[in-house]
């Protein structure tokens, strides 16, 4: 059963140096507050897993938390490059970053296989792409029934899966709605899961398209209102589009990046202080 604890306690107890950690979110509900807590607690040598690494992974990579990135698209959506990610890959700063690179369809199949406790996922994919040569987690198999050649991809089984949701109840059951991406699979594929939420309610009210995760598949539920910023939480706060544009300038140089992180992440204790430091209402 999920424990209702502070995010700092959850990260301290559940995430260790060297772990494979998947912070998932597809534009919507990206668990920024949890990423910031990993940075504050100075986790190192993490294998970061995510289909669409964006700003929060740029921050983790730039702060030296990651040894390896497993991903399919790394950019600042609608803006351009991730400068800290590029600096790590192109120049090894602050530490070299190993890449395990896939397509979206392949990553989705890997999470689904992990959630189903299968050793691999199967898809009609990777035809003609050099990605298959770069990654040891892609192979070709022959269908035993039709003889069709298909791609097999190794299941993802992160040590810790971290997602952000709109609500949890006092028993730790979690509900999210809107675009829910690959979060269900990421939680079920991971050995342990942490969920940050906008609010804790006495009882979950079913929502159209709502995705409910029973509390007994979640290790920790942490209250973190505004914990997706600059991503959004449908029904709670909107996407801070201006911040995505500002991040391009903040992150372009190592010095401006480090100063920003010192002020807004290392210099704050939690998500409330982070928002206060930005002058954004949670």
């Amino acid at each position: 059963m999920a424990e209702l604890v502070s995010l700092a306690e959850a990260v301290d107890e559940l995430v260790h140096d060297g772990d494979a950690v998947a912070l998932e979110g597809f534009t919507h509900l990206i668990p920024h507050a949890a990423g910031h807590e990993l940075i504050r607690q100075r986790r190192r040598a993490l294998t970061l897993v995510r289909m669409t690494p964006d700003i929060v992974y740029d921050q983790l990579i730039g702060m030296g938390c990651a040894r390896k990135l497993v991903f399919s698209w790394g950019g600042n959506p609608g803006v351009g490059s991730l400068h800290r990610f590029r600096d790590a890959v192109e120049s090894g700063w602050p530490v070299p970053l190993e890449l395990e690179e896939h397509s979206h369809a392949g990553m989705a199949a890997r999470y689904a296989a992990g959630a189903a406790n299968l050793p691999f996922g199967v898809l009609r994919g990777y035809a003609g792409t050099e990605l298959a040569r770069q990654s040891g987690s892609i192979a070709t198999i022959t269908c035993p029934f039709t003889g069709e050649e298909l791609a097999a991809v190794e299941a993802l089984r992160p040590d810790v899966g971290i997602v952000h949701a709109q609500q949890a109840d006092e028993a730790g059951n979690v509900q999210m709605w809107g675009i829910t991406g690959v979060q269900k699979e990421a939680v079920l594929a991971s050995r342990k899961a942490i969920v940050t939420v906008e609010e804790i309610v006495p009882e979950l009210e079913p929502r159209p398209g709502g995705l409910v995760l029973p509390g007994w598949v979640v290790a920790a539920v942490c209250l973190a209102p505004g914990g997706a910023h600059p991503s959004y939480a449908d029904g709670y706060h909107e996407r801070d589009n201006a911040f995505y544009v500002e991040w391009d300038a903040i992150s372009r140089e190592r010095e401006t990046f480090a100063a920003w992180m010192a002020q807004h992440v290392l210099g704050t204790a939690d998500v409330a202080e982070y928002h206060a430091s930005l002058g954004v209402a949670a």
Binding site: F26, T27, S81, S103, H104, T129, E130, E238
Partner: protein, 240 residues
């Protein structure tokens, strides 16, 4: 179409020419950036019944303004259905329910193969690009593929630095200079139309291989006032 009375940029011509490829009822899996802009323009001009699918899982989105990302709230709110990411790739794309994949890229070769991974060597890249995203499977599971990118010797290259995506299903490439389509037994990309004011030599000079030009080269009709007005309304957002 009425003749245009205002001037337009090469990028605007590219977006308009690309939007005209889309038709009512087509099911289009669209990437963010230039393709998303063209597809949203088509929704507002010649293809109001276009079915737009974004990889975030939104099916039939009709956003009120141009989305900044593939997962904007507006896409979910206006969609016919919102499904999970594993579902959009498995049940919808892989299952063969997509008519057209619409992609951008950093580099293209003469067979329509695309690079969106690195410039330079993979292990020691000069420029690390975002990567494949949905493109490899969009390009092999959709019935045909449209590509949009600006045409320069840096983007139209004799050899890709990395082949992210197979060009086999590419049927049309729209650039800021004209339109290319695969022709002949080897299906090499051939210039089949140039935009207003562009000579074929300009396209040849912007191509890193010896560009074939089709007999009966066509000239793209300039944007109509209606197309330009819709495009400009789309690209003017109040929150960025």
């Amino acid at each position: 179409m009425s003749a245009t009375t205002v001037t337009f940029t090469a990028d605007e011509m590219m977006a308009v020419a690309a939007s005209r490829l889309l038709r009512d009822g087509m099911v289009c899996f669209v990437g963010i950036g230039l393709p998303s802009q063209a597809a949203n323009l088509a929704l507002r001009t010649n293809a109001p019944e276009l079915v737009l699918i974004y990889e975030s899982g939104t099916i039939g989105a009709k956003p009120s303004q141009l989305p900044l990302s593939i997962g904007d709230g507006d896409l979910a709110e206006t969609a016919t259905a919102v499904v999970s990411v594993p579902e959009i790739f498995a049940y919808w794309l892989q299952a063969g329910r997509i008519d057209v994949g619409f992609l951008g890229a950093a580099q293209i070769d003469r067979y329509g193969n695309l690079n969106s991974t690195v410039i330079g060597d993979y292990e020691k890249p000069k420029v690390r690009l975002p990567g494949a995203g949905g493109a490899p499977e969009i390009a092999t599971s959709a019935r045909e593929v449209f590509v949009m990118l600006r045409q320069t010797p840096r983007t139209f290259v004799p050899e890709l630095d990395f082949r992210t995506t197979l060009g086999r299903a590419v049927s049309t490439v729209v650039t800021d200079l004209g339109v290319l389509e695969p022709r002949g037994a080897d299906r090499e990309l051939t210039l089949t139309a140039v935009h207003p004011g562009i000579e074929p030599d300009a396209a040849r000079e912007a191509t890193g291989w010896k560009l074939r030009v089709a007999d009966g080269l066509e000239r793209t009709a300039p944007p109509t006032d209606a197309e330009l007005t819709a495009l400009r309304a789309l690209t003017t957002r109040d929150d960025r």
